[in-house]
Symmetry: C2
Subunit: 265 residues, 2 copies
């Protein structure tokens, strides 16, 4: 399963943020070249092998990590050992934001494949905030995005049925790959069924059955984690609340139980 953590790998010189393909999604967004150079000075790049921990729950917090390439999952474990996957992170995304408050990491971060991260020592980042106001803004923006992302997942976990959850999951991945210039209809799933289940609040068996159903209905093709979205419209309808009917068609959802808002005159 997961190997012992591997933070502190040998750095991988040279790192030139100016040349980074994902700088536009990272903290550097909108920065001047001079400012990028300043930022460059505090960053160190590391390789993290597959199944290695970038950090673990309880470890002291010193740095944030921007993903240069590769994929990570972040997960919490409860007392019983069951894990809740709180997110799948890909290039350009920032890990460790939840640790600022307590001074210790509040979740595990595990590489889903061989990956590279840019370590950003938080103390030095704070120094830069004073010199680069725009960097601070971008930082706040990314923290806020993280909050939004989690709220969206709460909606999935709290209100959706399994099919809907899975459709949302696939569409979310698709969208993020599109943002990064990859194909939105064909990509590799980097995570196991178990991870998907842990993310969506389902068992591994349920995920497997969903895969079978989506495949049989001709909505996706999937073999060996290689995914192809065949019928995006149906997935979107599903994600939006439509229910799938036995004949592979879609039906409108039952009425919501919450009363519509009354609007003052």
């Amino acid at each position: 399963m997961c190997k012992q953590h591997g933070a502190g790998q040998a750095p991988v010189p040279p790192n030139r943020c100016a040349e980074c393909r994902f700088a536009g999604m990272c903290l550097l967004r909108g920065l001047e070249p001079v400012e990028v150079a300043l930022f460059d000075g505090i960053v160190r790049r590391h390789r993290i092998g597959r199944d290695m921990y970038l950090y673990r729950i309880g470890q002291p917090f010193t740095s944030l990590y921007a993903i240069h390439f590769g994929h990570f999952k972040t997960a919490q474990v409860d007392r019983r050992g069951a894990q809740q996957v709180t997110g799948f992170a890909m290039s350009g995304e920032l890990l460790g934001l939840d640790a600022i408050a307590g001074g210790r990491h509040a979740c595990d971060a595990v590489a889903l494949e061989d990956s590279e991260v840019c370590e950003i020592p938080f103390a030095r980042l704070q120094e830069l905030f004073g010199k680069i106001p725009h960097l601070l803004q971008q930082f706040h923006c990314m923290m806020s995005q993280e909050i939004q992302r989690e709220q969206a997942l709460m909606l999935v976990l709290g209100n959706m049925r399994a099919e809907q959850r899975f459709a949302c999951f696939l569409l979310n991945l698709s969208e993020r790959y599109a943002q990064r210039g990859y194909s939105p209809v064909s990509f590799q799933l980097r995570m196991s069924r178990d991870d998907i289940g842990g993310y969506l609040g389902l068992t591994i068996e349920s995920v497997s059955r969903l895969v079978a159903k989506f495949r049989n209905n001709g909505w996706i093709r999937l073999d060996n984690r290689k995914l192809e979205i065949v019928d995006r419209a149906s997935l979107e309808a599903l994600a939006g609340g439509m229910r799938s009917a036995p004949g592979a068609g879609l039906q409108p959802p039952p009425p919501s139980r919450t009363i519509p808002l009354r609007v003052a005159a």
Copy 2:
């Protein structure tokens, strides 16, 4: 249900943050008196009546709001109209952090009782960040806390059974009242069963049955939203993963399905 939004109420002079009972939980934590005075200058206090919106999804973001007293719920609604309550906020807590990224509010915030908030114009807060480094740190801390809080809820929604969710909910409230100097064993539930259900990902009927069960088992007393925690130990055991047995006793949980971590030699 919920009335039309009521932001822009008459301000309630005078607001003296220095005298605020909850300054220690708010952005002011650890600030010097001079700095508090600066902060005071940008804040305006507002009354928000019960069931009024502090802000609504899609409204342009201009200010954060610190709760001076009272209670709010924050909620998202999906396309079907079903609502996911993303949090219950009480005095000293900060609302609106999710809106920084998009420039628009990403959820609704509704007062659960007559309340007062301190409006903090974000642009002016940003100006203060340059002058009061400690304020910036505290701000980051609060954003990070928000992320942690949401991750904890994701664990509840994704991994726990109804009883466990409800126990966690009650204990969480209890803890937060304790932090504020109120009784941790006896307090008023400010939210409806519907809100609790929306928060925990359960139906109103399930919440009602949980209340009955918890009461019958002698774990809580509850009438008319007045709650008393009678058997905290049982609630904690439940929240920790114990299952309640028919005879009102508690039983150890079934083994987790996730394989224990392998530790390198």
